[in-house]
Amino acid sequence: MSTIAHDHAAGLGDHHAHDDHAHHPTGITRWLTTTNHKDIGTMYLWFSLTMFLVGGTMAMVIRAELFQPGLQVVDPEFFNSMTTLHGLIMVFGAIMPAAVGFANWQIPLMIGAPDMAFARMNNWSFWLLPPAAMLLVISLFVPGGAAAGGWTLYPPLTVQAGMGMDLTIFAVHILGASSIMGSINIITTILNLRAPGMTLMRMPLFCWTWLITAYLLIAVMPVLAGAVTMLLTDRHFGTTFFNAAGGGDPVLFQHVFWFFGHPEVYIIILPAFGIISQIIPAFSRKPLFGYASMVYASAGIAILSFIVWAHHMFTTGMPTAGLLFFMYATMLIAVPTGVKVFNWLATMWRGSMTFETPMLFAIGFLFLFTLGGFTGLVLSIMPVDVQAQDTYYVVAHFHYVMVAGSLFAFFGGAYYWIPKWSGTMYNETLGKVHFWSSLISFNVTFFPMHFLGLAGMPRRIPDYAQQFADWNMIASIGAFWFGASQLLFVYSMIQCARGKGEKAPARPWDGADTLEWTLPSPAPYHTFETPPLVK
């Protein structure tokens, strides 16, 4: 862990006279007390990789149970805990911290800032994560088991649950606090610490999408905290927010939850859009097409995300006017999303492309994310959604946008920047094997789920009827294959962190032109203490 980023930096002192890495504690104290954005970024990334493996193991349990009809591996209650924790851990433990890890490392480097604006708060927002993750994992071992009501935590089912649910609620509170602090930090850094000449409309697009993401987080994380707090008081203090017998309404929770939950979807995907917008121009050796329209499209998506939440609730029995409004608003999201996809294609058009691992993941992202976008459009059509809602069609849809979308973009980003972070090139052959293996096994896993959903298989069931057996077996085989493929990524990253491999030059990608590539590799412990001048 500790070798990333700085240990090799000693010999580069003459490039950066102010590099002063001797002044931090060593060993565990260094990591506990660090306020350095690179250290904190590194911790975020390793943390999210760890949680990705934990959540992935749960996915393997789910697919093992669903390999054949009948109950073989786990009992239904534990199965429900697995689906619940898999969702919570992947969303809050793997994807979101990974995005913050990228932000911590890259935003100061890309805008020419010496560090994040609030360095101590940065430390605190990271160190809130491990206790929250521990609460989630420990909840598996308390009486009554972990939360088993789905990651959406719908009452009244979650009011019935045991104390595992309370641990989950506290974990969500802590994770939310961490996200809000991270967002405040990112917004302040971007707005105040840009180098001279780095106007907002000159920032790399990754900084723009994160700026928008951070505003989304600040707007909606308190809403989630409110929802789970109401759940907590319903459970223990006799309130009846979600209980009709006391004048409440179970559907109220869904409205509040999805008012958080839909922007959350874009919180997950916007940083990925940013990474893709750095990678595609670099490997096409051509500037990003339609930079301004990319910024407007990202902002447009963010604004629309606040008025579409009830499309997750089309079957709750809304009034006709509500159904129509939320259907039309949801369909509209296709427009700015389409603009982004077209811009990426136009960036590649008449470029001079090469296909190193980051570019492969970016193209995989583009192809599969768009497929997930199309199934999203299908689901936005309310009468079709009635058939597909809460089926495997939805499971397929959101894994196409979250795994082949966000996760692939993060893989691409990790391969793209690991030379800068560690000073070591990753193994290109291994990277390509990781890409192709992931791409194929991902589709073997999730493509059949479209069929299962259309044919009528509900999600979150531990056992299923005979006509779903074929595709489930194929999906399970794909899932084990996909899970095993990720070990290649873990191995690659550990090798880079240990400095095993070719030494990376300052700018390994000849088409990359953002500020971080003007620094030596690995980036010194302190960078841009004198702001660079951006012309």
Binding site: S284, L324, G351, M353, F374, D390, A455, G456
Partner: protein, 379 residues
């Protein structure tokens, strides 16, 4: 277990074959990868809408990624391409904003028409109240004045892989909902405990069941037959085990069935004072237990530690019977134990007798239907 995968194999091959040939689902009638054949006007509109949107998406997808793959093959450095340097074109950007918008309008029009039709629940020929419970459905024929529970009838042995799985594994019930053909059936949906969702794919009906609220929807089945669906909202550990089976009968058969049901209701209430043998009560009680209690308290009565209490050795089951009757009739507030007052006096008497003389308990006491009746009266 092995038997299952054998059965699955021919189907697997046929579906793969169909996929390889790119033949559309309906042509080969492979139900496993397509929406189920619709039998109501609304379900047919949903089916058509899905394919309408689907084909538009396919055309756009092929066009957009045709361009991408052309670019991937032609515009690569290894072919000595020099990159161009354009990075803006206002006209192109306006065009690819406006055209998708127009396509969306084209999609929204038929979808809106279907939504308006779906929401029109007026003038039904029959109204049925559907209640979701953990974990079974119950149906009440409001005008006809009778109702019943509909429980999963797949034997536990099949679920636990001790017996080969039947054709309708997990999609079969003891008492299906029965409706007449060509009649607009309005369904009032609610729940007794947590959220459920009543979903019959062939009817195009999926409506969440919300405790404390009644929602309505409707369907008009145009073909007699048996149609199967499942609960579509996570409702706890039995979520995968509460299927919906609807039998659509001809008008005459339906009328006959309603008469039978009414007669049964009368018989069931006929002789509440009959004194039963302990043995008869235990036999009946075992059936009632399997249908209503085993989901939580487990078939062996051991419960689930920390969540559902064991009946084996329970102080209440081994103690005075009045206390147990009261819990079964009224439920236990603050826990998952609901009231079972909707069961008949005979069923409640039988199941209590069963728990007191099986599952590791042996009190030798019989509880008679008359005692239940008396307990109901005293509140």
């Amino acid at each position: 277990m092995n038997r299952t995968s054998f059965m699955a194999r021919p189907r697997l091959l046929s579906s793969l074959l169909a996929a390889a040939l790119g033949v559309s689902g309906p042509a080969l009638a492979i139900a496993e990868w397509n929406l189920q054949p619709p039998v109501t006007p609304i379900a047919r509109q949903m089916y058509d809408l899905h394919y309408f949107i689907f084909w538009i998406c396919v055309v756009i997808f092929v066009a957009v990624f045709g361009v991408m793959f052309y670019s991937l093959f032609r515009h690569r450095k290894s072919q000595g391409r020099q990159s161009a340097h354009f990075h803006e074109n206002t006209l192109v950007e306006i065009i690819w904003t406006v055209i998708p918008f127009l396509i969306l309008l084209f999609m929204a029009f038929p979808a809106t028409k279907t939504i308006l039709a779906m929401k029109d629940t007026s003038a039904p020929g029959l109204t049925i109240k559907v209640t979701g419970n953990q974990w079974s459905w119950s149906y009440d024929y409001l005008q006809e004045g009778f109702g019943f529970y509909s429980n999963l009838s797949t034997p536990l042995a099949q679920i636990e892989n001790r017996a080969p799985k039947g054709e309708h594994y997990l999609l079969e019930v003891d008492n299906p909902l029965v409706v007449p053909v060509d009649t607009k059936v309005r369904v009032l949906i609610t729940a007794g405990d947590v959220l459920h969702a009543w979903w019959v794919p062939a009817f195009g009906v999926k409506q969440d069941a919300i405790p404390g609220f009644v929602r309505d929807t409707w369907f008009k089945a145009e073909k007699t037959g048996v149609y199967r669906g499942q609960c579509a909202e996570l409702c706890g550990k039995g979520h995968g085990f509460m299927p919906i089976v609807v039998e659509v009968k001809s008008q005459e058969d339906f009328a006959k069935w309603v008469e039978e049901q009414k007669a049964k209701t009368v018989v069931a209430g006929a002789d509440p004072n009959k004194v039963w043998d302990l043995k008869d009560l235990v036999v009946t009680g075992e059936r009632v237990y399997a249908a209503n209690c085993a989901a939580c308290h487990q078939p062996n009565g051991k419960g689930v530690p920390g969540t559902f209490p064991a009946l084996d050795g329970s102080k209440i089951v081994r103690g005075p019977k009045e206390a147990q009757i009261s819990i079964v009739l009224h439920g236990k507030p603050g826990t998952a134990m609901p009231s079972w007052a909707q069961l008949s006096d005979a069923d409640i008497a039988a199941v209590i007798t069963y728990t007191r003389n099986a599952l590791g308990n042996k009190t030798g006491e019989a509880v008679q239907p008359a005692e239940i009746k008396a307990a109901r009266k005293s509140g």
